[in-house]
């Protein structure tokens, strides 16, 4: 039981390196496929939007960037206090931490569609949406999404701790800053540039 718990909350600590890398590549390929099938796109590191007519190239590059950018910034953060930090460990840690959110993406793509998301965006400004079915689906997403998000954060913190040997509070502050910086860089600069490039 103890071992199962350890595997569930910190796979980076126990799985052999090759298994980790193989699994992380599989999850990244899965993320691209989920976005393609669900007509969704990562418009933020921790946000997925609907984009019905996105080019396959855009999906691949945006999904890869969503995984590569935070991993790179976490690697730089780890390097500041531990010279032995390796990029591959932070890549694996970050990819594993995104797996619960991939499940939310699958659920989101199957429960909502672009029209529903638009309706929700309009309704958010005007008050409660009229569609009761939409409200139920949003409630289901919220109930399942919140634990998944918390689980994702737990996986990220545990993975980061293992990958960098972080022990002190400043080490975790570096981690938080890296994630926030990744979100800002991706949303403000990289994603708009990708949209411009692929919709020319």
């Amino acid at each position: 039981m103890m071992v199962l718990k350890d595997y569930l909350f910190n796979p980076v600590k126990f799985l052999p390196d090759r298994v980790q890398t193989g699994m992380s590549l599989f999850f990244v390929a899965g993320a691209i496929l989920i976005n393609y099938c669900g007509k969704t796109i990562q418009d933020g590191i921790y946000h997925t939007g609907f984009l019905s007519d996105s080019a396959p190239g855009l999906l691949v590059v945006s999904t890869l960037l969503v995984f590569l950018l935070p991993s790179a910034l976490l690697f730089i953060a780890g390097k500041t206090f531990n010279k032995g930090t390796r990029f591959i460990d932070l890549w694996n840690s970050f990819v594993f931490s995104m797996v619960p959110l991939l499940l939310v993406n699958i659920l989101s793509a199957s429960l909502l569609n672009e029209a529903a998301a638009t309706q929700l965006a309009v309704a958010t400004n005007a008050g409660v949406p009229d569609d009761a079915g939409l409200l139920v689906r949003i409630a289901i997403l919220g109930v399942i999404g919140l634990p998944c998000f918390i689980y994702s954060i737990v996986l990220l913190v545990n993975g980061y701790k293992t990958a960098t040997n972080a022990k002190k509070t400043p080490h975790y502050i570096w981690m938080g800053l890296a994630i926030i910086a990744a979100e800002i860089i991706y949303r403000l600069f990289l994603y708009p540039s990708l949209i411009n490039y692929f919709t020319k």
């Binding site: 980076v12 126990f14 052999p16 032995g84 390796r86 293992t162 040997n165």
Partner: protein, 85 residues
């Protein structure tokens, strides 16, 4: 072999050595070598590292752990030994 005093947790010293063949006894106040001041698991870890030809990757494979876990153990032990010296 105990390395810490069970009463006050201070480091123990060697006060007597004895030859098994002629029963000669030497008494004194000798420091334990650094390696022997480590706990049993730590001594085993260093021995495993030596037997794995200094490969942390190989040790991780044998122990069924990942490379960063094993490297962290090594880093912690290096830090501890540096402080002991």
């Amino acid at each position: 072999m105990p390395v810490k005093c069970p009463s006050c947790d201070n480091s123990l010293k060697v006060s007597q050595l004895k030859c098994d063949r002629c029963s000669t006894e030497i008494t004194g106040n000798y420091d334990l070598p650094l390696f022997l001041k480590l706990h049993k698991e730590e001594q085993d870890f260093i021995m495993d590292f030596f037997l794995a030809s200094g490969s942390i990757k190989e040790m991780a494979r044998q122990a069924g752990n990942s490379y960063p876990t094993m490297r962290n153990k090594m880093d912690d032990m290096i830090e501890k030994i540096k402080q002991m010296r």
